[in-house]
């Protein structure tokens, strides 16, 4: 089976028009198979886009995309509990669960497990598969060697293995809003200041290293994960779905570059130069190679210990 290309949920607070236009292009022009929708970072943001969802779903499905609804990562407040339970109980849509609060509600209904669910080993995968999980997006910090062991066990279970291959990497989530804090506000008085930074707000160290990016309550890598040169390795290790994370760059171009790689129409070097030409970066891939995540390990060069 050829690996499929997926588009993860938009992590940043884009306004409704920007999201609608973005998904219209994805629906009409991109080679993506599956699109994950929904707010996974901050429950305060959800009212802005909820009313547009039916139209976006219809457009994506018309474009031949499979649509999956992703649940919130952090579930504490009553409204977050309700959002999670409502998503996981009702309807026959595809769901991806990002917090254990969603697991109690599924009652055997088929579902996907998101990258924030901490599935680090086969035993966890087997347990969750026993309750209806049929697709696992693994934590981005897992090295390829571990992903391979997970994929070996996934095959007889007939469950899918998905790995993020493009975009800033989610590294931490908090109950506090760091975006509001940077603007000397509290979360309750945030005025959605995170919307000013559609790819996140960069934190630099005191020696001017661009280190991390904050996105509301979330912290991400400053570098863009890019496994375009590792596609053969991903496939050889048993990855069935390759996830791209939305950014304000030309995501139709990004998805086309990755689709060409998956189809064997281009080399890693070609893909890397096409991605670099989009003006994004720096690129990182350390986690996949089992080294510090902020690093870029060039597979063609000497092995980094």
């Amino acid at each position: 089976m050829a690996a499929k290309l997926t588009l993860g949920p938009i992590l940043f607070h884009w306004d409704a028009d920007a999201k609608r236009d973005f998904y219209a292009r994805i629906a009409d022009e991109s080679p993506i198979d599956t699109v994950y929708l929904g707010e996974v970072v901050c429950s305060k943001r959800t009212p802005f886009f909820d009313s547009h969802l039916p139209e976006v779903v219809e457009r994506l499905e018309r474009g031949g995309k499979t649509v999956v609804f992703s649940s919130l990562t952090e579930v504490v407040l009553n409204r977050e509990r309700k959002m999670t339970t409502d998503l996981c109980v009702a309807g026959d849509h595809n769901i991806e669960i990002n917090n254990a609060a969603g697991l109690i509600a599924t009652k055997g209904r088929p579902h996907r497990i998101g990258p924030m669910m901490n599935v680090y080993n086969e035993e966890t995968m087997v347990h969750l598969a026993g309750h209806g999980a049929n697709h696992f997006s693994l934590p981005p910090e897992l090295p390829g060697t571990v992903v391979e062991l997970m994929a070996q066990r996934a095959r007889p279970l007939d469950v899918a293995i998905e790995v993020q291959a493009f975009g800033r990497v989610p590294l931490a989530i908090s109950a506090r809003c760091f975006h509001a804090r940077a603007h000397r506000r509290s979360k309750d008085e945030c005025q959605f200041v995170c919307g000013k930074d559609p790819d996140g707000l960069t934190l630099t160290t005191l020696e001017n290293e661009r280190f991390l990016v904050i996105n509301g309550v979330q912290t991400l890598s400053h570098g863009y994960l890019n496994l375009a040169a590792e596609i053969e390795d991903l496939l050889a290790r048993g990855v069935t779905h390759v996830r791209l994370m939305p950014h304000r760059t030309d995501m139709v171009a990004v998805s086309t570059i990755f689709a060409d790689r998956l189809a064997g129409r281009s080399t890693g070097a070609e893909a890397m130069s096409r991605l670099a030409a989009l003006g994004i970066g720096p690129f990182i891939n350390g986690f996949w190679h089992g080294i510090a995540g902020h690093q870029y390990h060039d597979a063609r060069g000497p092995v980094v210990a």
Binding site: A100, I104, L203, L206, F287
Partner: protein
């Protein structure tokens, strides 16, 4: 250290093995199986319990290490296992069904639904709550779950969701979840610049810079100072280095049904453990006897010499 805590009046002490199976995998801490054996004997002889922390995440290929740790703990007779990984919880529930399981804060379970999932699946008997809930939220949560609850009362004031943080792995290639170490000492460096300031780094990343008259802190990524376009002067982008101290709130915690109070003791000195545990022992006994707790001054022991009641009072800190 375990003995210092038992002698100072702790009802139960957490410990772990000298490997990645617990979230405090640091040189000089933790136990061999022989040490655990004698420590359990000491604790039991003094009426205290020993809780074995197996609360890191076993990455595929390394699961046998967690199994061995669980089997060893069961053989020695620890009083409970504290776990975060679903696979590890499933293993213990299946192979050691008579053992008590506690849910670590590393599991990131911060709602009744999440805790109920772990209770239903693995028979969890106690959940350690994240440090982000207010007293009324704890009361509501307690009413909706079938297990005991434990809250932090003294130590780190952490605001990142625990068990969901890869910052250390991103910075230096050692994973907090998989290797059990956040900001490992082997990657910490202190340098002094020409002006006499101390620069604290983790791997190749500068985490903070301390003026000559400032006390230099440990370079933990979420406690460092950074700059942004929105706020160009260095500031604590995530949180201030500050300690949680809930001694004044003990009556309120007791009133909402908190079953156990947790003091962070590992990576600390024997004197710290003795003082903090002894102070809380007296305060808890006073509350239990209906008296106002005699608040002792623990400020000198706290990180950065500042303390807070954190999230437990209000939501303003968010």
């Amino acid at each position: 250290m375990l003995r210092a805590a038992v002698d100072a009046g702790a009802d139960a002490v957490y410990c772990g093995f000298q490997n990645a199976t617990n979230a405090r995998n640091f040189t000089g801490l933790n136990f061999t199986s022989e040490e655990l054996h004698s420590s359990v004997a000491y604790a039991h002889a003094h009426g205290a319990k020993v809780l074995l922390a197996l609360n890191s995440f076993a990455s595929a290929g390394r699961f046998p290490l967690w199994k061995e740790a669980a089997d060893c703990g069961a053989r020695i007779g620890v009083d409970a296992f504290i776990v975060a990984d679903i696979g590890v919880a499933a293993y213990i529930a299946h192979h050691h069904p008579h053992c008590r399981l506690h849910l670590s804060v590393q599991a990131g379970a911060s709602s009744p639904e999440a805790i109920n999932f772990y209770c239903r699946e693995f028979g969890i008997r106690r959940a350690v709550l994240p440090r982000i809930l207010t007293i009324p939220e704890i009361r509501q949560l307690k009413a909706e779950i079938p297990c005991e609850i434990e809250t932090f009362v003294f130590g780190n004031h952490g605001l990142m969701v625990e068990g969901r943080c890869s910052l250390t792995n991103y910075a230096v290639g050692i994973s907090t979840n998989m290797d059990g170490a956040c900001s490992p000492p082997s990657k910490v460096r202190y340098d002094r610049d020409s002006a006499g300031a101390v620069i604290a780094s983790l791997g190749s990343h500068v985490i903070d810079r301390f003026a000559p008259d400032e006390q230099a802190g440990y370079p933990t990524i979420c406690k460092g100072r950074y700059c942004t376009a929105a706020r160009p002067e260095p500031f604590y982008a995530f949180e201030e280095p500050i300690s949680l101290n809930l001694m004044e709130m003990l009556p309120a915690l007791a009133a909402v049904g908190v079953d156990a109070l947790k003091i962070e003791g590992r990576q600390r000195s024997r004197a710290y453990v003795g003082n903090v545990v002894g102070g809380f022992r007296k305060a808890i006994d006073a509350v239990a006897a209906g008296r106002a707790p005699d608040l002792i001054d623990l400020l000198a022991l706290t990180e950065g010499q500042k303390q807070t009641q954190g999230a437990f009072m209000t939501k303003k800190w968010r």
